[in-house]
Structure formats: structure tokens, C-alpha cells
């Protein structure tokens, strides 16, 4: 029997009794690039932090996370520590503060090499220099012993990526890796992620609220809202025909650069407070498509005829035009 690389089943997370993840089912195949999209606070990062056991102790986690069939959720700490960085590596939103300010960057990278590949000394140094070259840090030999504050934000993210690659992981979780960076640097980092995936064959989970960035990196997308997956499908399916009103709303809120000037269509309201979720669909208070049943009954995530998964009673019609779609597809 063959397993997916990572399989998350019914993952639930609660902080101080407030549930923030309501049963996430998600699988990542070897080498694939999966996008996780949604507004801030919808549980994109929490899903993966929970999977790796990186949430603070007060978080109550239930469900199952398996890597090649091995359960992580109830695994002892030592087993988790081997998986972190070794099988699943993670990079974060704010690269400058994600690197330890008092440790030389060379040592931060060789530390990961020693942990996961058992190499040290000169061998580790040579390998770290190779990784730094690979992620495009110029003059790595001379800058090996510098501290993180002596690098720019974009370079810090490259350092983070080099550190993540050190353990030769099967899966890289990129948690909003470009959000804190300039647009030009963003594009460079996205290119780097694509290039590295092609070279190393590692799978990528790309967490972002930037649909354009997601379309550049991923093949498959999950749209999350208020701790649930609401729509899931291939990039083409979702970008050409978003069916969930929330997915559609995300596209409508993207400014167009070309064509006639049109007013942006924002999604009204804000993400609901996780303490005040009703029995109905969490999106219904903001949804133009909501019908009576939306308020007291929750739609399940069901497979549609085109293969995508969708949780909506009254989805956007398949042939409804998407005004912002063109921009995003052209950007990509």
C-alpha cells in the first residue's frame, strides 16, 4: 500500500477552548506544489504549525497527521524533532526576525546539517556554502560568518531557504514567504522556490493570501475560511471557474492593472471571531449567494463532477464570468 507523502485527517485545534481549526483533511503528494489560500486568521499557518507540533502548549490538537504512514500527532518529541527540518522544513513570513540575531548565519545553517545529515566541521561548511550558492547569496564565502542583521530581507529569506534545504526535506512549508518583501524581491523568491522544487523534487506547500503568487508556484489550491477548507481543486479549475462565493470574492478583490478602470469589489465584513461561529456556514453573513439553509446548516466539502471539492449550498454558477480572472492569469 502506498501512502501520500503527508496526510492530514480531521485535524482540529483549539486555543483555550476556542476551536480555530474544525477538522482539516488534506494530503500532499510527493513533489507536488499545493497552495493554501485565505484571509489572515483562517487557519492556514495553524494547520502546519499543529502538524509539526510547533504550537504553544496551550493548544489542544486532535486528529491525525501522517508522513508516509507514520503518525506525528501523538509521536514522542524525539520523533517530531527528526521530522522537523529533516522530512518537513518550514520557512516563515518575516525572514529578518526568523533568523537568530546573535548566531552567525553559517552556524545556523551548519547546525541543521549536523542535526539531519550528521556532518560537521569543514564538510558542513562546504555544504553550507554550496547551499548558499544554490539560493543565490552572492559572495557566500566571505559572508559566511556574518550575522542576520547584515543581510537584507530578501537575502534573509534566501538564508531561511538554504537552512530549510540543509536537511534535504521531502516537503517545504512556505508560510507567506514573500509577504514582508518588496514586489521585485517577491518575484525572485518565487522563482527560487520553483527552481529549487524542479532541482530537488521536494513537495511545496505555499501558504499565502496572494493569489497571483500562488498561481506562479502551485498546481493545486485549497481555499480556507474560518478554520475549514471551503474549496479545493487544480489551479486551472479554481482560477478559471471559482465556485465558492468566497473564492470568487478573493478574485474580485484583486485590482486590475489593464483594461478599463473598474471599482474593486471587496468582500463585505470581516472574518468571524472563532468564538462566535454559528451552526451554519461561517461565510454566510458575508455571502451574496447565501440562501436560507446557509444560516443554520453547514455544507460539507463534497466532490464535484469536475473533480474539485466544494463546501457550498449555492455555489457561483459555472458559467458566471470572473472579471479579475484575466489579470491574475496573465500575471502568472
Amino acid at each position: 500500500m502506498s501512502f501520500d507523502l503527508v496526510e492530514i485527517r480531521d485535524l482540529k485545534v483549539a486555543f483555550d477552548g476556542t476551536q480555530v481549526l474544525h477538522g482539516i483533511n488534506l494530503s500532499v503528494d510527493r513533489g507536488e506544489a499545493l497552495g493554501l489560500v485565505g484571509e489572515s486568521g483562517c487557519g492556514k499557518s495553524v494547520t502546519w504549525l499543529a502538524a509539526l507540533g510547533l504550537l504553544p502548549g496551550k493548544a489542544a490538537i486532535s486528529g491525525s497527521v501522517r508522513i508516509e504512514g507514520n503518525e506525528l500527532c501523538s509521536a514522542p518529541r524525539q520523533a517530531l524533532e527528526r521530522v522537523r527540518g529533516g522530512r518537513i522544513a518550514m520557512i516563515f513570513q518575516d525572514p529578518s526576525s526568523s533568523l537568530n540575531p546573535v548566531i552567525r548565519i553559517g552556524r545556523q545553517i551548519t547546525e541543521a546539517l549536523t542535526l539531519h545529515r550528521g556532518i560537521g566541521g569543514e564538510t558542513a561548511r562546504a555544504e553550507a556554502l554550496r547551499l548558499l550558492d544554490m539560493v543565490g547569496i552572492p559572495d557566500a564565502r566571505r559572508r559566511f560568518d556574518l550575522f542576520p542583521h547584515e543581510f537584507s530581507g530578501g537575502q534573509c529569506q534566501r538564508l531561511m531557504i538554504a537552512m530549510a534545504l540543509a536537511g534535504q526535506p521531502d516537503l517545504l512549508i512556505a508560510d507567506e514567504p514573500t509577504t514582508a518583501l518588496d514586489a521585485t524581491i517577491q518575484a525572485q523568491i518565487l522563482d527560487l522556490l520553483n527552481q529549487l522544487r524542479a532541482e530537488t523534487g521536494m513537495a511545496t506547500v505555499f501558504i499565502s493570501h496572494d493569489l497571483g503568487a500562488v498561481s506562479q508556484v502551485c498546481e493545486r489550491v485549497c481555499v480556507m475560511y474560518a478554520g475549514r477548507i471551503v474549496e479545493q481543486g487544480s489551479i486551472t479549475q479554481l482560477f478559471s471557474r471559482p465556485r465558492h462565493p468566497y473564492t470568487r470574492g478573493l478574485f474580485d478583490a484583486i485590482p486590475r492593472l489593464d483594461g478599463p478602470r473598474t471599482r474593486l469589489v471587496p468582500i463585505p465584513g470581516t472574518v468571524p471571531n472563532p468564538k462566535q461561529l454559528t451552526a451554519g456556514c461561517a461565510f454566510s453573513p458575508r455571502c451574496a449567494h447565501s440562501v436560507a439553509s446557509c444560516d443554520f446548516q453547514r455544507p460539507e466539502l463534497d466532490v464535484m463532477e469536475d473533480g474539485r471539492r466544494l463546501a457550498c449550498f449555492n455555489p457561483v454558477l459555472a458559467d458566471e464570468p470572473t472579471p479579475a480572472l484575466q489579470t491574475v492569469m496573465e500575471d502568472a
Partner: protein, 308 residues
Amino acid sequence: MVRFVISRLLRALVTIVAVVTFAFVVLRMSGDPAQVMLGPDVPQEAVDAFRTSWGLDQPLWIQYLAYIKSIFTGDFGVSMRDKESALQLVLERVPATLQLTIPALLLKLFIGIPAGVYAALHRQSAVDRSVILLAILGFTIPSFVMGLLLVLIFSVTLGVLPSGGQDTWVHGLLPTITMSIGGIGILARFSRSAMIEVMGQPYIRTASAKGVTWSNVVWNHALPNAAVPIITIVGFMVGSLIAGAVIVESIFSWPGIGRLLVVSVSNRDLAVVQCILLMIAATMVLSNLMVDLLYGWLDPRLRRQTVH
């Protein structure tokens, strides 16, 4: 770096001169040594003779210049009471004070910091709450109350420890403990909050995410970052190694610098008081200087600013 050290040394010198000047002026304005030394009923001639012999009849600024000049030649004056070199008198008392303050400092460091770090790593636990409570008690209870309380318990009630004197090392126990309790509390609180702050930083999550073991996350990734605020407090404690024992030495009749200071102030023994204050200022300034240098060693971001 050299420029930084030189500029800090100059500032240290200015601080010391300010302290010396302040002590000199205030001491001479706040009472007449002749009256105190000779008593209230002596004839005016005796008072005048005393003043002339100690140079107290000169204008204040001439006395001051003479004093500064003699300091630079290594002469710290003579005690009006014992007629001995003031420096000699003070230096004789230093070992006794250090016998209390150095063990007290070690207690503060080796109990306060681990307690604070442990509490931070086990936040909201019973241990954490107890550490906070004890720390607050420790540094809010003044040392004279704490000292008397300990005497009441260990000397009066239990009769296991002596309440004063300097005969054996056992006599040093109560004063040392009294002195260390406040510092333990302060260091525990500071280490706890510094560590909580650091453990919430993104780079700690990064370290965990790359598979670093928990103990190495704490030791190699968190503690070096928490060290900067902790070292500031430790610097103050090192700086007060000489001065910190005034009250406790008086309570436990321990013949150190603190007792000498109290006695010399009430006797208006000018040279001795000035010599002690100079020494206190110098240790405080010196330890601050060391802390500044340590900052740069601990945190490379500060190193850069200091070089420019």
C-alpha cells in the same frame, strides 16, 4: 572599538569627578567636623586650632583644589578620628564586605536566573506562580525587615545561627542570605520576563522547526538572546559589591565598609567618607563599563552601533 572604549572611559571619569565633588561639597555644608569631633563644650581656641590643622579654615574652593590635587598623587587624606591613612582604613574593611557580598552575588545569580528561566519555560504552572510570588516578596520586603525576621527565626526562636559578629563563617550566613534575597527576587523576575519575551520570538519557532532539540533551543538559541537584559541587572549588582552592604552590616554588626561608612558619616570623618564614596563610584562605573562591553559581545547588532 578603541574610540568607543576611550569615550566610555572619559565619561566614567566625568561621573567619578561629579560624585567626588558632590560628596565634598555636601559633607562640608552638612556639619562641622570640629564640633562633632571635639564635642559641644570645648573652648573656641581649640576649635580654631582643630580647623587650622585640618585646613578647614581655608575657603571651600581652595580646600577642594587641594583635595583633588592630593587624590591625583594617590593621597586620600587622613582620618580625623584614627589619624591613620583613610585609604588604609577603608582597604582594611574591604575583605570583610566582600566576604558577604560575593557569596550573596553568587546566590543571586545561581538561584535567581535559573528560577526565572524555569518559570518562563513552565508558564502558568504552579512553579511559575510560586516563583513570581516569592520574587515579589523577596524584593518588596526591605532588607532591614528581612534581616530582623531571619534573626527572629534562626537566632531567637530556633537558636541555630548567630545573630551578629564575624567570628566564623557561620556568622556570615544570615547577613549573606539577607542580602541575597532581594537580588534573587529581582533577577528571577527579570530573567523570567526576558525569557518569555525571547521564547515568543519568530527565531525560536525557526529553531524548533528545523529540528533543534528542546534543550538546545533553550540553551543555544534563547538564553544568549535573553542575556542582554539580564546582564544589565547583574551589572548593577556587581557595581554594588562594595556599597551594597551598609544596612545589613549594621544589623549584623559586621565590620565591613558599610559599617565604616555609617560611623564615619556620623563622626564627620571627611577623608574616610570621601574615600569610601570614591571607591563606590569607581566600582559602579567600572561595572557599567564592563556591561557596555559585554552588550557588544552578546549582541552583534549593538556591536555595530558602538563602532560607528
